[in-house]
Point group: C2
Amino acid sequence: MTPSQAKHRPVAVERTLEIFSDSWSFAVLQEVFFGVRRFGDFQSNLAISRSVLTRRLKHLVAQKILERRRYSTRPARYEYRLTERGRDMYPIFVAFRQWGERWLDDAESHAGLRLIHRPCEHGLDMKFCCRHCGKEIHASDVHYDLASSA
Amino acid sequence: MTPSQAKHRPVAVERTLEIFSDSWSFAVLQEVFFGVRRFGDFQSNLAISRSVLTRRLKHLVAQKILERRRYSTRPARYEYRLTERGRDMYPIFVAFRQWGERWLDDAESHAGLRLIHRPCEHGLDMKFCCRHCGKEIHASDVHYDLASSA
């Protein structure tokens, strides 16, 4: 495979998938999206071991998805907050969840958790619209251009 | 960890991630979303080896994302089409791409490919709206209910 032939290879996707290298990273991120910030709360909500949680938090900080901030000096205590880069992952997270809930009919897959959209109090049902024309996006309405890369 | 404590573990997400076990599966799916159906076209568009492509197509068929259909009898030839379950993965795919394009500033990550929304001919810029109230969805507007699972 020569480099010029490889232009379709989805490097962006590959690198994004690396960030969610395992489901625990995703689980931690889910908790953050719901407002959890502190080590102890992650641990009790997820029933995750200290060492696994520590590794996942480090990974997410290294990937600049979370940042670690001190919120108390004596004793020194830290919390974890989403960066803008991390906040921007929310659609990926919801798209995954929504697909899983629809298509994995294993009852366990729902894990007893229901997302609610606060402004209307309905169960979260996301649709994907074009920011320019406002229409709902379907695969058949999208084509691609090969930009002028060599 | 007892089962009842594990209710937050994102089984749906984990199982969905398994389907995209590697970036080539994603690359194949991307081609399908753009209308590619035949083995030879996947192969030349992706510059992928026969054996890697064969494995990925089998994986996607086994996961009921694609289905294999005969389109010619003599010789017997097959093409690959999205199932409804597969078509429904489109938002995941676009959400990943969009995040990667925005945040992975490696020029290579764009891979020379630009998605265009046909109805308005703008570069694809997706927003995520509530199907019920139509508002754009932000993480801070979503909370969760623990359904009455044990």
